[in-house]
């Protein structure tokens, strides 16, 4: 454990490798040591390839010694949710008795490798109706969240500085919030979904979990952009990873006063008010926002679209379990599916005005800290932005009375991922990053 992962993050590790302070071989050995030490309690990893990671690290180390860099992630170890195809690794979400080793990489994995990242392995997620064994690195009696459970826990425990996840309801930001780290769900279509096993096509977003907003920005700059194998990707080029914070003033923040805080516990409500007060004192322009009554429709539309789309994914046990929501989704008439999609279009247009004088809207990420037990928690505060495809970021802001992390959610309109990260970095700089849990 010679490398201060918590302090360095992705940006610092990559810079340290480029400067010759650490070699990729040392960084990977350090990550494997951390996993050895903590994963028996956290259960973040569903599949590890230590030998393959060591071989890749040695190759990258020899390249560094020759003065060659593959890209901005040269030698950085990354975890991948078990929903993505990774060459020479199995994909747990296929949910078959025998899982073949994949022959191709998902687009996001391929782009990470091209930038020099080392894929250490696959991280746990719920498969079918089965919850993952993953535990919260802050308290193993509690969930790490889901469905990107292992990705959140692996980063939260500092086993790796970053991991990728996926969000259809609240699956990327929720584990990030529960584990005290940063999570981002970009605009729908910002990162190609090829090789990410679909759950609900028009709602699935590739997500990023990392230790800081700057780390997320670096990964997004590598993973975003048009993907010829995913026709839903946006044509915009990837944003730069340089958030130009010295050119950027304090953000204009709208604090959403309806729909979200009402669903929260006292810990979260009080924590959000404290965080808002701190941001205002630091110079942010803060104003209250009340979203229109029709915003309530987002939850109904999300269920109808998700259940209908997920009902035709053949890896869900819709024929084995009559309680399955996916079986119920297959009953929905096409007229209702289309009506829900029309309402989504209408809401996206209607909501644009709420950012006219603001950079971001602020609300809690989850109703409270990670619950005790195996249930992966409540995604309800994340569902509207997954439905609408608006980019959102979890920024940790403090701890609940039980010692578990809490996070706030910042949201921007579609396409403003870069501006969202700028505002998030400012908020992070004011509120401070959370310390590492004592798991390692």
């Amino acid at each position: 454990m010679g490398i201060p992962v918590d302090e360095l993050g992705v940006v610092g590790i990559a810079a340290g490798i480029a400067a010759g302070d650490y070699s990729p071989t040392e960084v990977v050995a350090d990550a494997l040591d951390r996993i050895e030490l903590a994963d028996a309690r956290v259960h973040a990893w569903s599949y590890l390839d230590p030998d393959g990671a060591r071989r890749e690290a040695e190759l990258l180390t020899s390249e560094v010694r020759r003065g060659y860099s593959r890209g901005p992630l040269h030698g950085v170890p990354i975890g991948v949710k078990d929903e993505f195809l990774v060459r020479d690794m199995p994909t747990g979400m296929r949910d078959k008795t025998t899982l073949p080793l994949e022959t191709v990489d998902a687009t996001s994995v391929s782009l990470l490798r091209r930038a020099g990242a080392i894929i250490l392995g696959k991280t746990h997620m719920p498969i079918g109706d089965r919850t993952p064994p993953t535990r919260n690195p802050w308290n193993q009696e509690h969930t790490a969240g889901g469905t990107s459970s292992g990705s959140g826990a692996a980063v939260g425990a500092r086993m790796v500085p970053a991991a990728i996840g996926e969000q259809t309801a609240g699956s990327n930001l929720r584990p990030a919030a529960y584990c005290g780290v940063v999570g981002m769900k970009p605009t729908y279509g910002r990162i190609g979904r090829f090789g990410c096993i679909p759950y609900a096509w028009s709602l699935d977003h590739v997500g990023i979990i990392a230790l800081s907003v700057a780390d997320v920005a670096l990964l997004l700059s590598v993973m975003a952009g048009p993907d010829p194998r995913d026709p839903t990707t946006l044509s915009d080029p990837p944003p730069t990873s340089d958030l130009r914070m010295n050119e950027r003033g304090a953000p204009r923040i709208g604090v959403v006063r309806n729909f979200f805080l009402q669903r929260c516990g006292e810990d979260m409500r009080a924590g959000i008010e404290r965080a808002v007060g701190t941001l205002r004192s630091a110079g942010a322009t803060v104003a209250d926002v009340h979203l229109p009554d029709d915003f309530q429709l987002t939850w109904s539309c999300w269920r109808i679209i998700t259940y209908a789309e997920a009902s035709i994914c053949d890896y869900f046990p819709s024929e084995e379990s009559d309680s399955s929501r996916y079986r119920a989704g297959s009953l929905l008439p096409a007229t209702y599916y289309l009506q829900a999609r029309r309402i989504r279009t209408w809401l996206r247009g209607m909501l644009a005005e709420y950012w006219v004088d603001r950079d971001v809207l602020l609300m809690p990420t989850t109703p409270g800290p990670a619950p005790e037990g195996m249930n992966t928690g409540d995604p309800s505060l994340l569902i509207p932005w997954s439905l609408l495809g608006f980019p959102s970021v979890n920024v940790p802001f403090g701890f609940a009375e039980n010692g578990l992390p809490m996070g706030l959610q910042l949201v921007a309109p579609p396409g403003r991922d870069y501006e969202l990260l700028q505002a998030s970095a400012w908020v992070e700089s004011v509120l401070g990053r959370l310390p590492a849990p004592s798991i390692i």
Binding site: S300, C301, R303, I304, A328, T335, Y336
Partner: protein, 59 residues
């Protein structure tokens, strides 16, 4: 099941339950609760009058 004129949650539930039973036989309590939730969602969006020309959209 029609979309307009708007439907009630009970009406949608009766329809979903009948379809479910026709395909898979009687529902369990858990399946019935799911159908009630979806029925309420159907009633909610059935009551929305959208501007003419609102399309489902690519996303």
């Amino acid at each position: 099941m029609r979309l307009k004129p708007e439907i009630s949650a009970d009406e949608a539930f009766q329809w979903l339950s009948a379809e479910s039973e026709r395909r898979w036989g009687p529902s369990t309590d858990q399946a019935s609760r799911l159908l009630r939730t979806l029925a309420a969602d159907m009633a909610t969006i059935s009551a929305v009058d959208l501007p003419d020309g609102t399309e489902p959209g690519a996303h």
